[in-house]
Amino acid sequence: MTKVIKEHQLNRMVVAACTPITHEPLFRETMIDAGLNKYLFEMANIRNQDSWVHMKEPEKATEKAKDLVRMAVARASLLKPLMEKPLTVIQRAVVIGGGVAGLNAALNLGDQGFETIVLEKDDQLGGNARNIHHTIEGLEVAAYLDGLIERVKSHDKIQVLTGALVVGYQGYKGNFTTEVLVGPGMYERKIDHGVTVVATGAHEYQPKEFLYGQHHRIMTQLELGHFLHDQAAEAAQWGRVAMIQCVGSRNEENPNCSRICCQGAVKYALQLKKINPETEVLILYRDMRTYGLMEDYYMEARNQGVLFARFDPERLPEVMNDNGALSITFIDHVLERPVTLPLDAVILSAGAWANDTEELASLLKLPRNASGFFIEAHAKLRPVDFASEGIFLCGMAHSPKLISESIAQAQAAASRAGAFLADTNQTISGVTAHVDPERCAACLVCVRTCPYGVPQINQENVSEINVALCQGCGTCASECPAKVIQVSHFEDDQLSAKIKTLF
């Protein structure tokens, strides 16, 4: 390609192939090698948007491919070279949240040689893993956690601030400033850093259903875990235990599956069986989601006689407390008939609910879903990045996941963050908004609509957009009543040309 560009003295390049998401960066490199500005490049995605999705209609697909190429050419002819300003990257990381995920991310970053500061709002590290005694495989969590905390605390590159509350957050990728209030004295500290890892985790839902809180033997999974740890002898006396799945998950308030509770139920059922093989364990489920190799434990539980009965969310089991005597009524899915059984304990497999990060999300301007979990930039292509560059995500802050999964994701986030810090030749994307000050009415619409608070009315009484902060979303450009904002690389005429060429 470089050769062709030079030979024919080309000044734009259009590639008709596959998706720009994965391939544009490569072709842009080629542009640079050929001495052209990398923004003078356009791709027509005739694979994902055409050949793949119109396999059975080759003629129409060919017509479409021609259109897609025509559109790309039309836009390419109007593309402008853009200059990217060099970016300085402060060589320091901040990790928000000191659970297993945050600690692993910090340790990884510290081991890479980057100064890292862990901000934990609690007065101790560890997060939710403190409530788990062993994993389904039988690994001791407390021992692991103590070791992890020790390694983090003694690491010469890592600093831990507990009782740390994030109260301010400014700047842009490579150049963030986080304001924290630390400790009981609430002394203020400002940290300049280049990347942020968000690992704020989740907690067990406090059930409102199934008489929770009204009887000491109606408990959640985590409570059962502690009980089995501390009072195993008493648990050995239990004749029958029922576990109810999906409590606080897959309902209107929290539509997601919490993923971990099915394996949790199997784990504790096996533990109960181990303490006393005679204890009858009944698991009332909607769908058993013991994904991956955990299926083996599910089989094991069945082999050991754990009973599994499916219930319909429209016809929930009913827990009854008759003067301290517990029982449960559920519709047996085979008999299609209500069955009532006396019980010694009811275990509610309460879901994982995101920790309260409303304020943090608004300070960092990060997207969360309706249940409060943070949203990655792209599920497949950028799974631990946020759309805003320089901020990364791991652990249960993203979605409910096992300790092993949290650790894996923390490593991924730390390696992405480390790669970002290590890349000291970065530039600021050219895809940013620009105001034509001549006709700006200083109406404040852009100031009020930008989700990142970037535009400001300057000394000259016109709007000014700091390209380092601008994320290039284009909201301001489409809202400006004077039509004086353009987003470079997505300018109005560049988009119009694509539409026009179709007709």
């Binding site: 999705v53 979303c473 997505f490």
Partner: protein
């Protein structure tokens, strides 16, 4: 996933539906589009926080305008999808194409135009 959908749709990518200008929506109809759909992230899941909510208000206004000028507001619509909903995307294209086939070609393109339904969609590629 390579789910099949009608080959009558042409996609125009923008960084975020926040960039989808109502002027471009109307312009597509001026040039002769039979229908336009805007495909954004799920509400509350916008990678840029609120872009899709602004896009929604613009699509709503475009609908009103199309109704009043006699083209019919049904020709423009907004859908919110997540990146894992390729199946739904294909369905939407099918539904929208069928709806537009029912409505017939845009009167703007008139008799001279090719008898095909063409939609331009803003897709979030972020």
């Amino acid at each position: 996933m390579r789910l099949q959908y009608p080959p009558t749709v042409r996609i125009i990518e923008v960084p975020c539906t926040g960039k989808v200008d109502i002027i471009h929506l109307l312009q597509a109809f001026e040039y002769g589009a039979d229908g336009v759909i805007v495909v954004g992230c799920m509400e509350g899941d916008c990678h840029y926080q609120k872009g899709n909510l602004y896009a929604k208000t613009r699509v709503k206004r475009a609908k009103e305008i199309l109704d009043k000028v006699g083209l019919g507001g049904e020709r423009v619509a907004m859908f919110n999808l997540s990146s894992g909903m390729g199946g739904r995307f294909a369905e939407i294209i099918k539904e929208m194409t069928n709806k537009i086939l029912e409505l017939g070609p845009s009167p703007v393109r008139g008799a001279a135009a090719k008898a095909k339904a063409t939609g331009a969609a803003g897709e979030v590629t972020a």
